[in-house]
Assembly symmetry: C2
Homo-oligomer: 664 residues x 2
């Protein structure tokens, strides 16, 4: 159910879901309300007056009984439960809204949940990669004394119409005992053998199933899979019920390799040290183990229920997970050992799961276009559609894919981990306390800060960084080069160790006890990152004689927080200046593809086809890319013609702000 919230005195209205937080509604409407504690309710700055309609609100210490009865509330502790009118007091008010209305940018702030989410790839059948089938067999007699395995196979054929299986020797070792101690009633776990080890070219569509586990009695209800995204910074995992297709739980943890370097390059350098490779493998595996433990704890399930793992990661992470040398990925000419990886036993690489669990790794395309991208292309269905799509994955690095069902080209943009918080003074993952929403009052220069979990701010996550950069730019606090405008009347802007900086949260308002800031060096890093991504997209398009206007869709994937803001992304030149309707959101694309493979073994063949279909364009030695990169080191870009709407808005806005500032 939706309700309309009208913010006065600007007379801006927004329709939101019942229960939406009022501070989030204001941010979404582009209405500034001072807020510095991230939404925890302690700074008391986000006071508003409810003039009409009902809201659900706590009485906080910052509001006296008298004020409460007058209608004063803290926006961050208030939920919308009816149509209502909200008066924003003078101390909060900015003026951005006026300009935004003029430019018809009313959609500027939207929750990602509202951004159109791309549907899964089409045409897949629910046919899980691991199945569990119960069998009731008859005991052997002298007249019918075929081998245990023959009896078992006949049961599969007769009771489940399964013909073609392969058997691991471990299963043969336990088979006679299991059959006889279960009164010949057992459950078999069979997995798609995606490639008997690994086939470079597998023509046989009718891939045999492989018997990996036998259990006493009927355990066929317990059949789970783990979908993994092995990121350089973060390991994300889903626990998937293969009986229903439902995602039972999702968890993310830092990749413990992070302590040996923030990006793949430093990891590879470390891997070359004695025992370095082993160390990094054991770290990523221990992170995987932790995240699996959490999933099982969350859902009260047992390790024994897990039948298989599908893991998508970039090329370096996939190599490290499997214990394969990474050195030549780093050194020119950037050669991975293999793009297609064998299926391995989870236990063999140290994953703390039963012997019968196999790990399927998504194939890579090149050293810097990995299985995570292939997985995302699978999950998003880009390879099935006629529409020309640009797929952007903004993780620890930026990878882009351009194409449709007929062709796919891809490239890695070397944008680095800035938008994941890497190399940013107070950058962090989208965990509790991460600033994900930001607005600045262009006159008072006071911030409006919303954090994940409404906790005191601890740092800034990816979507927060986009918000902050765009906010500072459109409020004329930084210039087009990313430098702070000097002599603005706020102690929040000050010189620091890393150039000028803006204080997003004072120590007393922060969750760390220190000021949370964004520095000019941070901004430089962000500009370089967005410049690389944009230049990569432009190069890829030009290679095929295309422009941004030719794109039917842009799909944004990556580990952003709960908010992502396309308009703000355009303002800083991260995303191209094309209509917001063409943008779609996939979230963690890599995880989407992993889940899809778990649910549909037919997709294993599609994964292989996609990986082979993708042509990698090497940008690192491409002079045209370097030119475009230099041109993109500006906010939004040196060439205003590439960002017509954004440039127009920024110019108009700045003019108003400057005159307003003079007036005060």
């Amino acid at each position: 159910m939706k309700h309309t919230v009208t913010f006065e005195p600007d007379n801006v209205a927004i329709r939101v879901d019942k229960g939406t937080n009022l501070l989030e509604a204001a941010l979404a409407a582009g209405v500034h309300i001072n807020a510095t504690c991230g939404g925890q309710g302690v700074c008391g700055k986000c006071r508003v007056m409810i003039e009409a309609g009902e809201v659900d609100s706590e009485k906080t210490e910052n509001i006296s009984q008298e004020e409460y009865e007058q209608g004063w509330r803290q926006a961050c502790r208030t939920s919308v439960i009816s149509d209502c009118t909200v008066q924003v007091p003078l101390e909060s008010r900015g003026l951005r809204r006026v300009v935004a209305q003029k430019l018809d940018m009313g959609k500027a702030e939207r929750k990602i949940a509202d951004l159109e989410t791309i549907p899964l790839a089409e045409g897949w059948q629910f046919d899980p990669v691991a199945i569990k089938v119960p069998l009731q067999l008859t005991a052997p007699t002298l007249q019918d004394n075929v081998s245990d395995l023959s009896r078992f196979s006949a049961g599969l054929r007769q009771q489940h119409d399964i013909e073609n299986i392969s058997v691991d020797i471990q299963c043969l070792k336990i088979m006679p005992n299991i059959l006889r101690t279960s009164d010949w009633s057992v459950t078999a776990t069979l997995t798609a053998d995606p490639a008997p080890n690994m086939l470079l070219s597998q023509k046989d569509k009718d891939r045999p199933l492989k018997l990996v586990r036998m259990e006493r009695g009927d355990t066929s209800e317990q059949n789970l899979a783990i979908g993994l995204d092995i990121g350089t910074t973060t390991i994300c995992a889903q626990l998937i019920d293969l009986k229903t297709g439902r995602v039972m739980a999702e968890r993310a943890e830092y990749n413990r390799q992070v302590e040996y370097g923030e990006d793949v390059i430093t990891r590879i350098v470390y891997a070359q040290k004695p025992e370095g490779q082993k160390k990094l493998q054991s770290l990523v595996v221990s992170s995987v183990n932790q995240v699996i433990d959490e999933l099982l704890e969350d859902t009260y399930t047992s390790k024994k229920s897990i039948s298989c793992i599908a893991a998508a990661g970039n090329t370096t992470m996939t190599h490290l997970l499997l214990g394969i040398e990474t050195r030549h990925i780093r050194e020119a000419p950037y050669v991975p050992v293999a793009n297609f990886m064998p299926v391995v036993w989870a236990a063999d690489i140290g994953i703390d799961l039963p012997d019968c669990v196999q790990v399927y790794s998504f194939p890579s395309v090149a050293s810097y276009v990995g299985g995570d991208i292939v997985s995302g292309i699978l999950g998003s269905g880009v390879f099935q559609k006629e529409e020309l799509t640009l797929y952007m994955d903004i993780g620890t690095n930026g990878e882009i894919v351009l194409g449709n069902r007929d062709w796919l080209v891809c490239a890695a943009c070397s944008m680095g981990p800035a938008f994941e918080g890497g190399g940013i003074r107070h950058g962090m993952r989208a965990d509790r306390g991460a600033i994900e929403g930001f607005h600045i009052n262009p006159v008072t220069l006071e911030p409006m800060v919303i954090t994940v979990g409404k906790k005191k701010p601890r740092g800034i996550c990816g979507s927060g960084l986009i918000s902050v950069l765009a906010g500072l730019l459109s409020a004329c606090v930084i210039d087009r080069n990313g430098k702070f405008v000097r002599d603005l009347p706020s102690d929040r802007i000050r010189p620091g160790r890393f150039g000028y900086e803006y204080v997003l949260a004072w120590a007393e308002d922060s969750g760390t006890g220190h000021d949370i800031v964004i520095t000019e060096v941070d901004i430089e890093n962000l500009i370089r990152a967005k410049g690389a991504l944009f230049a990569g997209c432009l190069t890829l398009l030009e290679t095929l004689d295309l422009s941004f206007d030719d794109l039917d869709r842009i799909i944004i994937a990556g580990a952003f927080g709960r908010y992502i803001n396309i308009e703000k992304g355009k303002e800083i030149g991260l995303f191209p200046d094309i209509p917001v309707e063409r943008f779609h959101f996939l979230g963690n694309g890599s995880l989407v593809g992993s889940r899809l493979v778990c649910l549909s073994r037919g997709m294993l063949g599609e994964v292989e086809r996609i990986a082979k279909m993708m042509t990698n364009i090497e940008l690192s030695d491409n002079p045209s890319f370097m030119d475009k990169y230099m041109g993109a080191l500006f906010l939004p870009h040196t060439d205003a013609r590439l960002f017509p709407a954004v440039s127009k808005y920024l110019e108009a806005n700045c003019k108003i702000i400057r005159s307003e500032r003079k007036a005060r």
Copy 2:
């Protein structure tokens, strides 16, 4: 080149190869010459006079200079090098020859080398199960930076027309280093992946090759395989050069499991003890390791040259080798865990060979018809011919197969290990010093003993036991029940701990320092063994409404010594009384099939087809088999009509001997 040797005064002639030992020539001609030291030249009993022609002979201590000049020689130290006439002195002469001539049994004694050896299965192509291909690759550049594996695969495709491969992760781990330290010149070992682990039904003929090893430089000349026959008593192995198809060496060793029981039943009982299974696996593996070490030592080759192993064994041995439970093979209803076994890594089961070596195990048909029989049927080509063939494998047990290219039935006969020397007081393997040829002077009761390697006798091997039993029977030393005739005038026949016994070699002539004897209990065991085999054959034939006369061929396989004598086998009722021309010899059939699989990967599919084609007839609960078994506990058989020629000969012979004995 052949020469004719004429033995006087019987005027018996035989054509033998140049260089044939004179004592062996006499045995082959059915001429008795006393000889008790096995052919070592020390007993001095085999004195003969060369009357015409030239021989190659040592002057031994037992012949004086004067005698030597007169033409006296020791037969066992003399070789035939021209046509010659040999006078056998009175003290050696028997009379069997006279009868034999009458009955036209001149072929009675023949070397196995002269018995028609069955050719290998037809229609196989030399296409070894493991190939080694040299590759010269180009180093990667920024313009050509595909993965190492892609580069390698492209090389396989371009340089060797090999398309479809699978890769083990171990190879990926070493691949980057091997490629770069070899200047991109490597050799790949690829094996037929007979079943990705194990397929119950493999339709795809175009089985992919599997990359199992990468080496620097061109090592393609060193490509060897091991063909193994894992017998209950003996492990036989051949080292096969996969470049030429040549057998480089052959070796046999006792299966060290023997100390835990002579037959599979006692092994299975032992395996049920705690750690028993592991112990037996480690023993058979250590025997395999020993025999492989010997093969490598014999040929000055290295373990690194070995690319694969094909192993055929009975069902129990195959289970034990792979570490799979055997218990239900022994207990009714006699169920093996599996007939088709997965391919395993040699190193995983403890075989001391490089990681890259896989072990292919031949499939079994039932608990007591194992992969060794399937291997023999493959090697002998029985499954390809129109001729109706009876295949008999006389190893530690007796297995028989009846059929042709259209159908195959088989059975296990529970004959036990007697003809391999098991349960025989002085039974032994066909090693140096094993009595393999035997004759007895029916009047003097002195023996003619020939041993493997012409060493002092240490025991009696399989072919020797047939010789001894037939010799004692046809010389009327034992009766048709296998009991010694009492009161014969020889101290070689005496009562002993195991009933009456015959001394084949006195302590001073033996290699052990003890008398070598055959006892009535030994003879009982041999009769039971041959009875079971014969009854099994008869039952199988009757099941299909056939008789021995319908057989086009009988193929004898098994671990006999260098001699096997069909006529003597018939005399004791081991073989049916049909013309000797229909008998063919295969030797170690299991080893023949193993070799064939190593040489031709197309044969892997045929092996599977044979195993599925064979129908097992369970004899253990078959009343008709029990009747036939009781009838066969007689020499040659209670029903003389089943052995018409043999019965006639034995009767006539005994009559002459008895009158001769009376006369003296």
